[in-house]
């Protein structure tokens, strides 16, 4: 089988050589002197890298590979020209390997070209397989790639043209892409100090999608791994630790490596106490304990109010009230780090009142009302210290008519307002 194929390949090679001669564009030979700035329009096209196959086992195979290689390089140069690249030709032969992108980029950089184009070709068993790649020199990054496998004949030439146009168009698109890093890349590693031993450090806001763990604080310090961020950009580091509130630290990436000193993470609120009063209850005090089952966000509460109703007019005697309210609450607006937060509660209450008035039907002077709390809205403002002003508006409904209250909304429809202080971390 092999001799037969060799015999048929001679006319093909002749035709191929003619075609290459006709189609070969004028490719400038690159000057390999280093230049300070890269030409973002220039692409350095390297000699085709021939891989194994027949070219390695026979002279005829080598001729065939050389002919197709010349056609492939010509097609690549022509396509890049069509997509507004200035094509330069390198005479340096590259060898396939892991460091090829770096080597190609290095040579292209020395030539002042912003892009490097490399073609790989293998001829074996009457078929050719080829791959075309374009690298962005500044980051040695692959910008575009295309490849194909085809019968080793004239029919391969238009397919090479198509593949060359594909890889050139992709490279052009990448070149025009706004996502393409065009700025200068930092050359340093970011360091972070924190008093919170063992705190996890992330790039990206805490809990945000796409945030990435970069290490933990050890001995009060973390040197982040090198990440090629663009200079003069802003990133966010976040720290989090068990039973403590996460914090986000924005960092401006300048010329010098930033040394970030993170403040101590605050302990999360597992419980806090509110003290306050409100209209109609000024002769008394209310106290609320919140137990957070989801720190900083959701809580159970118990609220005790002890106050007297007294209008200071003749004939009046103080009417003492003792209320116990229980329920659930949630912060709904703004994160724990915000000075202003707002939320809502629901629950119910047992309301005791004590009067000096006599009744023929009861032997005591106590009244018990039972009420539900369908809604309580609250908001808080934390000052620079942990001192926090809170304000709430309650809509409570008495469901039992055996006490002082009839069935209906408490306060004759007047909102049950409260204001007071709490210590919020």
């Amino acid at each position: 089988m092999r001799p037969k194929s060799r015999g048929r390949s001679k006319p093909c090679l002749a035709a191929l050589a003619l075609a290459v001669a006709l189609l070969l564009p004028s490719i400038a030979v690159a000057e390999e002197a280093p230049t300070a700035a890269l030409d973002d329009a220039a692409v350095l096209v390297f000699p085709v890298i021939t891989l194994g196959g027949d070219s390695a086992s026979s002279a005829e195979g080598g001729d065939e590979a050389a002919a197709f290689g010349a056609a492939l390089k010509a097609a690549l140069g022509r396509a890049l020209s069509e997509f507004s690249f200035t094509v330069k030709e390198s005479s340096e032969a590259l060898v396939q390997g892991e460091d090829l992108p770096v080597k190609a980029s290095s040579i292209a950089r020395a030539a002042g070209a912003g892009w490097a184009a490399v073609a790989f070709l293998e001829v074996a068993d009457k078929r050719i397989a080829y791959t075309l790649r374009v690298y962005e020199v500044s980051e040695s990054a692959l910008a575009s790639s295309a490849g194909f496998s085809v019968y080793a004949g004239l029919a391969a030439l238009p397919l090479m043209d198509d593949s060359a146009k594909t890889v050139a168009s992709k490279a052009a698109a990448y070149r025009a892409s706004p996502a393409r890093g065009v700025g200068e890349i930092i050359q340093y590693r970011i360091s972070l100090t924190s008093p919170d031993e063992g705190a996890a450090v992330y790039i990206g806001a805490a809990g945000a999608q796409g945030s990435r763990a970069v290490g933990i604080i050890e001995d009060g310090f973390l040197l982040l791994p090198y990440i090629p961020f663009e200079k003069n950009t802003r990133i966010v580091l976040s720290l989090s630790a068990k039973d403590r509130s996460s914090i986000d630290i924005p960092i401006e990436l300048g010329d010098e490596a930033p040394k970030v000193a993170a403040p101590a993470l605050k302990k999360v609120d597992k419980g806090n106490i509110l003290v306050g009063t409100g209209p109609g209850r000024l002769l008394g005090l209310g106290m609320t304990y919140r137990y957070f089952f989801r720190p900083d966000w959701s809580f159970l509460f118990i609220n005790e109010r002890l106050f007297a109703g007294f209008d200071f007019t003749a004939g009046s005697k103080p009417l003492v009230h003792a209320e116990t309210w229980e329920g659930f609450g949630w912060y709904l607006l703004f994160p724990p780090s915000s000075p202003f937060r707002a939320g809502a509660c629901v629950g119910g209450g047992f309301l005791f009142s004590f009067s000096s008035a006599d009744s023929p039907t009861t032997s005591n002077y106590a009244f018990l009302d039972i009420a539900i709390l369908p809604i309580e809205a609250f908001c808080e403002y934390r000052f620079k210290s942990e001192l926090t002003l809170w304000l709430s508006a309650r809509g409570a409904y008495s469901i039992d008519s055996s006490g002082l209250l009839g069935r209906g909304w408490l306060g004759n429809g007047t909102p049950d307002l409260s204001a007071g202080l709490l210590w919020r971390r």
Binding site: L333, A357, D358, S359, P360, T361, L391, G406, R407, L417
Partner: protein
């Protein structure tokens, strides 16, 4: 964070606005202020359900009666209840402890004014009852929209209006101890177009008789209290045949005239009302923003003194004892009748 700052500012403004409200709002008891003045109370709704298997809807009027019989003074509080079965019944409470009594009368008088007669009985509508037991004594007595029964030395005077009369007609009939009619008189309050009504009548401790008239002209309501030295003086005024009690003929009155003027209309659905008490006229403003204000106009002064403002709603019904000892409030929502200490003493 801009939103957070804006909301913080709103929080501050709200707090300032809250605490700059009037003292009444700040100190008003959310459970209702009236219980601070409570002396005794009874839950009529519960009591009627328990003792009489009656479901009380509302109370339409409160009154009281006192009569001496056999050397003992008997006092009762009456109330006209409207019940779920569609009936309207008069029920009685013991004065001392507001204990619900067995007494019951089917009565439909808008003006609830029981009183004692010369027999020592308590007359309610067309029936008199023994004062000691509230058991019926004499029936088919003079009827009407009764305002007042007076015990004269030997004559009962009934002062009343009737539903068939124009609103400004009042009647006064005299009866002997056996309830034989001895005199009859009808008077028109005013000759003008103003629609006056005789709203209340009461005899004060010193024997003076006070009539309280309401003028309801829609915007600037007026209440006038005419006080007579005693019932005989009033009877004489009737007997003199003067056609009008007020207006051009008010010179006929030898009584003191006290004028209480408020915005709004007395006796209107807005709830403006007034009562006669020993110390003068108590006038109630309409209930606004869940608050009601009472003003006391002492006899002869014409100016309001000793005001009292309290949390209230339209479901409250009031009654002021003419003696000025206590006042009463029925709270519809709780079904509770409460006896209250006065603020004017």
């Amino acid at each position: 964070m801009t939103i957070a700052r804006a909301l913080s500012a709103l929080l501050g403004i709200s707090a300032i606005a809250l605490f700059s409200q009037g003292c009444s709002y700040l100190f008003g008891d959310p459970y209702g202020d009236y219980m601070q003045k409570a002396v005794k109370w009874a839950n009529l709704r519960t009591e009627l359900q328990t003792k009489a298997d009656l479901e009380l809807n509302n109370v339409g009027g409160i009154g009281e009666a006192e009569s001496a019989s056999g050397g003992t003074t008997y006092r009762y509080i009456f109330f006209q209840g409207n019940f779920a079965d569609g009936t309207s019944r008069l029920r009685a409470l013991g004065y001392e402890n507001l204990d619900l009594l067995d007494f019951e009368a089917f009565n439909d008088y808008g003006a609830l004014a029981p009183g004692a007669d010369v027999n020592g009985d308590i007359k309610i509508g067309s029936q008199s009852y023994y004062a000691s037991s509230l058991i019926p004594h004499l029936g088919s007595l003079a009827n009407g929209g009764l305002l007042m029964v007076d015990i004269g030395p030997s004559t009962n005077y009934l002062l009343y209006t009737t539903t068939s009369d124009p609103t400004d007609l009042i009647h006064m009939d005299g009866y002997s101890a056996g309830w034989a009619n001895v005199s009859s008189a009808t008077w028109q309050i005013s000759s003008g177009s103003d629609m006056w009504t005789l709203a209340r009548a009461a005899q004060l401790v010193d024997g003076r008789v006070c009539l309280l008239f309401f003028l309801n002209n829609g915007s600037q309501g007026k209440a006038i209290a005419a006080t007579f030295a005693n019932f005989s003086t009033l009877a004489s005024a009737f007997a003199a045949g003067n056609p009008y009690l007020m207006g051009s003929a008010d010179a006929n009155l030898s009584a003191d005239m006290d004028v209480v003027t408020t915005n709004g209309s007395y006796g209107s659905p807005a709830g403006i009302d007034a009562w006669i008490i020993e110390d003068g006229i108590v006038s109630m403003t309409s209930t606004i923003n869940n608050r009601t204000t009472f003003n006391l106009f002492p006899f002869g002064s014409g100016a309001a003194t000793k005001s009292y403002s309290m949390t209230a709603n339209y479901s409250y019904l009031y009654y002021f004892q003419p003696s000025g000892e206590y006042w009463y409030l029925f709270d519809y929502s709780s079904g509770r009748l409460v006896c209250l200490r006065p603020w004017w003493k």
